[in-house]
């Protein structure tokens, strides 16, 4: 024997979100369905699937060694400007792909004094007259990717001032090698046969 349940039959026609009308029906609050292999039960007991949306304090991810630069940069401390390749602000996110990231070095609270001294020693000549460290990127046609590139440059500059080499990126190196091989092969094909 099968039992029946009345559903909120507000709209069963072609409208977006019709299958969400069940969750928003005011009369019944349905228990969330949990099978035997739900992550909370089977994979990660003691934690909840909703934990993935919780805001984490980034300081908990940083190692306790306060002197060297961890790699964490609070975005509120940086001034990020997006312009087109000529330096004009067009306010069109697709055209404004060039990124300009700057911050005043000596008043940066997110860097330790030792790190600041290292940066001053290595990059002091690159700072602006007012003491701002500037990083620019216009490598790709996407502002988002250029921001990532700019931040990578900034992090590598800070680590270089501390004497650390940037981490190896084998995927990138392989890709560069592959493209070189293709270019070489193309050159070979173009050469006339002797």
């Amino acid at each position: 024997m099968l039992s029946t349940v009345r559903i909120a039959c507000k709209s069963l026609t072609r409208t977006p979100g019709i299958f969400h009308s069940l969750s928003t029906s005011a009369s019944r609050k349905m228990e969330p369905y949990k099978s035997a292999i739900h992550p909370d039960i089977y994979l990660y007991p003691g934690s909840s699937v909703q934990d993935q949306f919780k805001t984490i304090d980034p300081s908990t991810l940083i190692e306790t060694d306060a002197q060297s630069f961890s790699g964490y940069i609070p975005m509120e401390a940086l001034t990020v400007r997006y312009t087109d390749s000529q330096g004009r602000i067009t306010a069109d996110p697709i055209r404004d792909s060039r990124v300009d990231i700057r911050f005043h070095l000596q008043s940066a609270q997110w860097l330790s004094d030792e790190t600041k001294a290292n940066i001053q020693a290595k990059w002091g000549r690159e700072l602006t007259k007012d003491g701002f460290l500037v990083v620019k990127s216009d490598r790709t046609r996407s502002a988002m990717m250029n921001t990532a590139d700019g931040l990578r440059k900034l992090r590598e500059a800070i680590w270089a001032s501390e004497g650390q080499t940037p981490p190896a990126n084998p995927e990138l190196e392989l890709e560069i090698q592959r493209k070189k091989q293709i270019a070489l092969a193309r050159k070979k094909v173009k050469q006339p046969k002797v």
């Binding site: 977006p16 299958f19 909840s48 805001t55």
Partner: protein, 291 residues
Amino acid sequence: MTLGHLSSAEKALAMLRHLPRVSVNNLAKLPTDSLPKKTPLRGAKNRNKRDMFKIWSPLGWEGGSSPIFKTTPVEVSYNYGYHAQRQYPPMSLKTLQLLIDTGRLDTHHPIDLATLCQTKVYRLDPNLRQFGVHLTAEGMDGFKAKVHLEVQWASQEAIAAVERNGGSLVTAYFDIFSVKALADPIAFFKTGQPIPRRLTPPADAVGYYMNPANRGYLADPTKVAEERVLLAQKFGYSVPPLDDPVSQEAQELIKDPRQVFYGLQPGWIVSLADKRIYKPLDEELVKHYNS
């Protein structure tokens, strides 16, 4: 009897008195009936331009004749298992933004494969081994919408673009029968079949869906939260908090690994004609659908 002395209205009435009653067998043919009939095209003639993108033929396919890798003994294993490969037709963030701006998608509720297929802009054919939507990053700079998405594959930049606007993204695997149900839910409900119990990913996909960097639905939730911070650090934005009512609803509705539709459980039969849901009561069935 002459009708010359009558007015046009009187003439018409005089005609009506003598004409037979109008019925189905004395109607004049419609103009379209005289057009040449379109017979269904078969074979190569039944191919249109869009099929080029719908059906991904294997690399090296030579239009039907024996491809070179089949005749060469060394390369015989090339394209091995092609018929069993899963395909994820892409959808860009640009298309997604357009769908939202034109009102085809409602961002107040979480968006999954069923919602995307119902727009009829994104089409999925499970018969062509298409297992879901692959969210690509084209249009990431102009992506302004705050959405809570459930996709099957997503690039890192696409995840970042969604999360920096205060949205969320989960990648989840659906087996082919679940995809068939999602691709056209109304047609599926009309078949009268119970909602399938979604299967776990196959061996070559488990790694992807357990990886927190991909926001996999089987990944460790605490590690996913950490990855959100790391991705924000990579692309240069602060992680927005997800504490508004829309986000709360999306979080509560996160699907179980056996669940296909939001708010519906496997084993239920949704009857559109009766406007009712029929649930199984038999012990063995209940045990099966909850396992």
